[in-house]
């Protein structure tokens, strides 16, 4: 059935991809945010050490006899040791002149007494972080501003950041994978009621058009309600078709039978040859019409019933014997002997009405094509599968058309002059297929046709 459904995309795929895509976006976002945050914290760490170093040097600055002395402690630079052995630069300024240290640092911008100024500057292509602070020294009659800059490369910071980034990436990847797994789980949980509904409908019997009764999630309620309504309408319409077929069969066949009996009676009363011939032609035409109507209705009924087989235990031999008894009068008109062979009973499961219809059509066909004073052998067998073989002594099937004979309204080349609609073999074939069986047509070696109906 699925190849006739117009499939476009998959809810499961769409849901999974949406969840995974959302997780991926979130993961990247979290990575960027955490990395930025960590970079800020790490920078604050370096800044605070630089600030401590600056203030320890500033604290050591004193005015002695008008000259600035800065006897800063060993720890001022010692505290700047890092795992990556970052380079350290410092400069001590008095007012605007360099007092001591490196002359490659940018001019200090700190204001005396104000907070330490931090900035990142470029030194020979390397980014260095610099802290600067200033302090006013007051002597007996002098006033001077000492400022100190300490700068440090950021290799240890980069190492730390890389390590943290790597860890964040690992954690992010882990959470992402977890989310992927959860997405699949969530998707299949969400999709499950839909699949359960599909399964329950697929598993239904052919006659089961009852509404879906099992509980369904809120979102599926409109779908299931529509489905139930559709099935309700279908059920009604099927019942109507059945009634219509029965009605039509009744209404067409009965008047035809009336017309035929009138024609027969009239035939007995007229003497002129041309009138008798006309009446016989009329009876023939009525027979043909009646038969065609019957077969058309049979076929319509079979088409309908094939979808709703009413299986029951059927004794095929019994059924064939009944049919033969009913058809014996027709056979005797052509001096044809109907001979039935078989074991006591061959029980099969099937729709009795359909089987009877199919067998009647097959025997009918054999009668039509058999020459007068011949025999039709009907054999009913139980093994390996229940089957019925009907052999006649007629001309057999035209060999080059044997495969097409079961198609609707197709008649063999040798059928001219014989009453028929071309539906008989189609009916038999449809019934066989509805029961999971086959209809096999073949010609007997010594002449004559053989139709094998097996279930």
């Amino acid at each position: 059935m699925s190849d006739t459904v117009n499939v476009s995309g998959s809810l499961r795929t769409r849901l999974t991809l949406t969840l995974i895509g959302g997780a991926a976006v979130l993961t990247v976002l979290v990575f960027v945010v955490i990395r930025g945050y960590v970079a800020q914290i790490a920078q604050q760490g370096q800044d605070s050490i630089l600030a401590a170093s600056v203030s320890s040097i500033l604290d050591a600055a004193i005015l002695r006899e008008g000259a600035v002395e800065v006897d800063f402690p060993y720890a001022s630079l010692s505290m700047l040791s890092t795992d990556a052995d970052d380079r350290v630069f410092y400069a001590i300024y008095q007012d605007d002149g360099l007092l001591s240290g490196y002359d490659i640092l940018p001019e200090p911008t700190a204001v005396s007494g104000a907070a330490t100024v931090h900035r990142t500057v470029d030194l020979d292509g390397t980014a260095i972080r610099m802290a600067t602070a200033a302090r006013t020294l007051i002597g007996a009659d002098t006033r001077t501003i000492v400022s100190v800059s300490i700068a440090q490369t950021q290799e240890a910071l980069a190492v730390t950041l890389n390590r943290i980034s790597r860890n964040v990436v690992i954690f992010g990847a882990g959470f992402f994978l977890l989310t992927v797994v959860l997405s699949f789980w969530a998707t299949s949980t969400t999709i499950r009621p839909l699949r359960r509904l599909a399964n329950s409908i697929t598993r239904r019997g052919p006659d089961d058009l009852s509404p879906v009764a099992g509980p369904v999630p809120n979102e599926m309620a409109p779908l299931v309600a529509s489905l139930n309504r559709l099935m309700g309408r279908l059920d009604t319409s099927l019942k109507q078709s059945e009634d219509f077929i029965a009605e039509a069969a009744h209404r067409v066949r009965t008047p035809l039978a009336t017309v035929r009996s009138h024609a027969e009676a009239t035939l007995q009363r007229v003497d002129r040859d041309e009138n008798r011939m006309a009446l016989r032609a009329m009876i023939r035409a009525i027979d043909e019409s009646s038969r065609a109507a019957g077969q058309l209705l049979d076929h319509a009924m079979i088409t309908f019933r094939a979808d709703h087989l009413e299986r029951e235990q059927v004794d095929l031999l019994e059924m064939v014997r009944e049919l033969v008894i009913r058809m014996t009068p027709v056979a005797q008109m052509k001096d044809i002997n109907l001979h039935v062979t078989g074991v006591d009973s061959v029980v099969a499961t099937g729709d009795a009405i359909l089987l009877q219809n199919a067998l009647r059509n097959l025997i009918d066909n054999a009668l039509k094509y058999s020459p007068p004073e011949s025999e039709i052998a009907i054999q009913v067998m139980a093994h390996p599968k229940p089957r019925i073989e009907i052999r006649d002594q007629g001309p057999g099937f035209p060999p080059d058309e044997i495969d097409d004979l079961t198609t609707r309204f197709s008649r063999g080349d040798n059928a001219r002059g014989i009453i028929g609609s071309g539906l008989g073999l189609t009916i038999a074939q449809d019934v066989a297929e509805a029961h999971g069986g086959t209809l096999t047509l073949s010609n007997l070696p010594g002449g004559g046709a053989c139709a094998t109906f097996s279930l």
Binding site: L77, R87, L99
Partner: protein, 335 residues
């Protein structure tokens, strides 16, 4: 470029001759084609075995070895950083500052603990304590002092015996002497008291450990303070007229360091030389073949007496700090 180097090579003898080196020697491999130039403060006799060992493994090289004082190394190297491949010095602070100022090349493949290397550029390769060397005869009838405090007491007990017969580094001239002095001052006030006592007894000032050891051995000096232990031990093998004391109150241990110049003409070979030097100086049974003491890689970590390689070494190189320190020291010693 090739012509440029050829020109330099031609002019080198002329240039070098114009400079005043303590020592300058060329070691040739068996098939020399190129020359590594090493600027060093280590006496040639101590360093020659390392050079010979390197040349045995690399016969296509020659090594030109220049010796000068620790304080001069900085000036000479900074004036022409592209004429030397390797700089070796015992003045750790000056070396560290050169590396901090970006003069050194990163050398890979050297696995030294953190305290013995800096930025993978500056590497220690010896552990050498500062020692007190005393004349054996002068202490024949007195207990030999084991600490600075005991030395002070000995000196105070007999000032006339020791007047004019004490020696120590002139920290104004010697980078190593300045390093030892500043680290001592950092460790204890005893250093200043000792300096004051030595100053009051007209201590003589020296540029180098070798001269101090000579004078102690000959009896011109009775006590020399902060002498390089490695030189003293080496001298003692042929001369037992003096005693070496490692002060037990607070020992100071210096590490000789080396780096490859960032502008080295032969960075590859220079790095190889440095790796070779560190390999032989850290190999387990060293010292036997090489007169320089090995680098003691204590698995438990740095010996606390070792001056470790860190930016704080630059503290006493600060112009203001240095002038304050030298003023104090001069006040104490020169008087």
């Amino acid at each position: 470029m090739r012509n440029f180097f050829a020109l330099i090579l031609c002019l080198l003898p002329v240039l070098s001759a114009a400079q005043d080196w303590e020592d300058r020697q060329v070691f040739k491999g068996t098939a020399p084609t190129q020359t590594l130039r090493i600027l060093s403060s280590t006496d040639t006799v101590f360093f020659a075995p390392i050079i010979s060992g390197f040349l045995a493994e690399n016969p296509t090289w020659s090594v030109e070895y220049f010796v000068t004082g620790t304080a001069e190394i900085t000036g000479r190297f900074q004036a022409a950083p592209d004429t030397f491949d390797i700089v070796i010095s015992s003045a750790m602070d000056l070396q560290l500052k050169l590396v901090n100022d970006g003069f050194a090349l990163e050398v890979g493949g050297v696995d030294l603990p953190d305290w013995a290397q800096w930025r993978q550029r500056l590497f220690a390769f010896t552990s050498e304590p500062a020692t007190i060397v005393v004349n054996r005869n002068a202490f024949a009838d007195k207990p030999i002092p084991r600490t600075r405090q005991e030395l002070i007491q000995v000196l105070r007990a007999a000032p006339e015996t020791f007047r004019g017969k004490l020696g120590t580094y002139d920290i104004r001239q010697s980078g190593l002497g300045y390093l030892f002095a500043t680290q001592d001052a950092r460790a204890s006030e005893t250093f200043w008291r000792l300096m004051e006592v030595m100053g009051s007894l007209d201590a003589k000032l020296y540029c180098c450990s070798g001269d101090m050891i000579d004078h102690v051995a000959s009896g011109d000096l009775l006590v020399a303070y902060n002498v390089l232990g490695s030189y003293a031990v080496s001298r003692q093998k042929s001369d037992n007229r003096f005693e070496i004391i490692r002060p037990s109150d607070f020992p100071t241990t210096m590490m000789r360091t080396g780096f490859v110049s960032r502008h080295a003409p032969h960075p590859g070979a220079a790095s190889d030389f440095l790796r070779y030097m560190i390999k032989v100086q850290t190999a387990a049974p060293s010292g036997g073949n090489f007169p320089l003491p090995p680098l003691e890689l204590n698995p438990a970590g740095a010996n606390p007496s070792v001056i470790s390689l860190e930016p704080a070494l630059m503290t006493y190189l600060d112009r203001l700090k240095r002038s304050v320190f030298i003023k104090e020291w001069t006040n104490a010693v020169v008087q």
